[in-house]
Amino acid sequence: MTLQQTAPPAVLARPVSRRDKGRLFQEIGMLAPAVILLTIFLVVPFLLSFWTAMTNQPLVPRPTPIRFVGFNNFLRIFRDELFWTSLWNVSRFTFWILPVQCGLAFATALLLHQKLPFRNLFRGLFFLPAITSMVVVCVIWGTLFQYPTGPFNQVIGFLSGGRIQPIDWLGDPNWAMFSIVLLSAWQAYGFQMIVYLAGLQGIPDELYDAARIDGANAFQRFWHVTMPGLRPTHVFVLVITTIQAFKLYTQVAILTQGGPKSSTETVVHYMVRSGFEEQKLGYASAVSVILFLIVLVIALLQRQLLRRFDV
């Protein structure tokens, strides 16, 4: 992209002058570090994992030979019920976390964009969970979720006057994923909130002034100025949140280990399990390739979809 901006085709068509050549070298030189690092740490590992996915490579060296197995790993994954369960689970997770987390982030961002006293203090406080380690959050919430006498159940029991039975948040297959959603949204919404705040600050005040002069009320200003102004922000937040949701792992690994009854098994957890616990690196690589393709397709679809809305 940068190449085109500074050296449009018309310039290249001319005999290349020494100055242009110098500039080209300079640009290549400046691109080089990024390109080299991306190649070493992203492109090569990806190609390697694709290659590993075609073999029966174990995690640690074994006395039996490593063989090329073609697409066997992929076929085996598609035949494994647990893989489909884990895919279904991350889809459920994504479906719930998008409105909960992004909604929470958007609402707090709107609130903190107002001219409140101690605004910066509140911004810091609301951002705190996001900089707390997920592991720590999980341990704390694990205690909050305790059944039957944990704090959440105590509060629910108190508010309902004992009419609502305690909920086995993490131990009931019907509740476990929802509990993970609550905790994840609370931990991570701060990041989206910051992005929304930045987006809100990017909307010029003149637009609001103009709207006010035209007689727009608060809701109309929100709907016709704020929302269109935030369109690129919405796209970004949606894509980022979806991709992160598909990589759900830490919470599950710490709190439920994929249970109960595989109701919180996720694709990444399934991959780590087959790679480390069952020591099948080739198989786990195949899972990672599939996950990559899924995320890629979703990201492209979302872009297309949102671009259509833009017109």
Partner: protein, 427 residues
């Protein structure tokens, strides 16, 4: 810290040819904070007795130990001495990570080992010894005396008069209706669903019922793990869970002696005794595991010490293992932790497990009903598949379907590794 700095200084001095460098041995271990502190102390004492050796301890958490070990293998940073969970020994030896330990540790240590301890450290192919432990383990049935007397339960005195399945389930039912009992039994689901505890503690229930995780002659799981006795045994356990007789997974692991003593029985490891007895005082009774079918069965095996093939100083590594197993501090701490004797001299030193002692029944199980977990290199796959099946069944899944799936997974792993030669010829 100061010591480390000193050893760096010494090492750099050695490069200059002034002093001789120290030999460093790496020791990988797991354990709770108390054990970690104890190992640190032992390492210091060993260094004091052997001024030319530096012991570097590498801690890896219990639940991720195998992952951490694999990472060490991948990065070619194997320790000299490693603590390992006995059922994984066959996998480690088959993969070539451990060396025979008999020539490396003191003869009197080897001669001191109990039958069960030798069994847990032996590789079935060459029948050689690859690891030694001070301790062994077992699971017993703890009971709250008050509740048991209230329902008029018979309290078995020895392994031979263990409860039958009918008695056991009858008592569970009665206990569930008794005032003050919230749950008739704690089977420590709180340890999680991905923990060796599942295979270790529930495996013997299958064996007692007349089946196993895998056929130990043909090394095939289909036809064994999904056989009728196994399906029947796990359906029985599923019933305990759906009847709300078992402490749920999310309620923690001390419901037996927690405030108000909400759980009446506990199917718990020997290590649970110290804590439970301290809290329950005279209310605790220790009973053998019930007989669920034709024979009694109990688990054994624990974390033991091996020396890796990567060690450049196997003799010093062996010296460290011998030193540790004889060390008074190690034994004192193990005893305090109600450590289950794996060495005869330690047994003689443990009134807890001696005849007439409160845990005598647990020690009696070792010689009468203990069955080791399958000594096969596919063990990681076996235990992982079984854990998955138990989670599914406890949460309402069909026992037959879940066990068939697990059995197929195990056989698939063995097939993928060409039968783990020479285990495929071992029939």
């Amino acid at each position: 810290m100061g010591k480390r700095l000193l050893s760096i200084l010494m090492a750099s001095a050695a490069l200059g040819g002034v002093a001789e460098a120290k030999t460093v041995i790496h020791v990988m271990h797991q354990g709770d904070p108390g054990w970690v502190a104890t190992y640190g102390e032992i390492a210091k004492r060993f260094e004091a007795a052997n001024p030319d050796v530096d012991v570097e301890l590498i801690y890896a958490p219990h639940d991720a130990y195998n992952e951490k070990f694999s990472a060490a293998v991948m990065s070619k940073q194997l320790p000299d001495v490693m603590e390992l969970d006995a059922p994984f020994l066959a996998n480690y030896v088959w993969s070539g990570y451990l060396q025979p330990i008999r020539p490396l540790v003191d003869k009197d240590v080897i001669g001191d080992m109990t039958e069960s301890n030798i069994a847990q450290g032996t590789y079935p192919i060459d029948k050689d010894l690859y690891a030694v432990g001070l301790t062994d383990s077992s699971v017993v049935l703890y009971g709250n005396k008050k509740y048991l007397e209230a329902i008029g339960a018979r309290i078995p005195k020895s392994v031979d008069d263990a409860w039958t399945r009918e008695e056991f389930e009858g008592y569970l039912e009665k206990l569930s209706k008794l005032d003050g009992v919230k749950w008739p039994i704690d089977t420590f689901r709180g340890y999680g669903i991905k923990t060796e505890w599942i295979t270790y503690a529930y495996g013997p229930i299958l064996q007692s019922a007349g089946c196993d995780l895998i056929d130990r002659k043909t090394w095939k799981s289909v036809g064994t793990l999904d056989s009728d006795p196994c399906v029947e045994a796990l359906t029985m356990m599923q019933k305990w869970v759906t009847n709300r007789w078992v402490v749920p997974q999310s309620s923690g692991t001390n419901q037996f002696f927690a405030e108000g003593h909400p759980a009446a029985l506990a199917l718990g490891g020997h290590w649970f005794y110290a804590e439970a007895a301290a809290s329950m005082k005279d209310d605790i009774v220790v009973m053998p595991l019930p007989k669920f079918g034709p024979r009694g069965a109990s688990p054994n095996g624990t974390w033991i010490w091996g020396i890796t093939t990567a060690s450049e100083h196997p003799d010093i590594a062996g010296k460290f293992v011998s030193f540790m197993l004889k060390d008074k501090l190690y034994r004192d701490y193990a005893r305090e932790d109600s450590g289950y004797p794996g060495l005869k001299s330690f047994a003689a030193d443990s009134p807890l497990y001696a005849a007439g002692g409160p845990m005598a029944v647990a020690f009696e199980q070792a010689s009468k009903t203990a069955i080791a977990r399958p000594p096969h290199p596919a063990y990681p796959a076996i235990t992982s598949a079984f854990m998955g099946a138990v989670d599914e069944i406890f949460n309402g899944g069909d026992a037959k379907a879940a066990l068939s799936k697990a059995a197929e997974k195990i056989d698939e792993d063995i097939e993928e590794n060409d039968g783990y030669p020479p285990f495929d010829e071992q029939q």
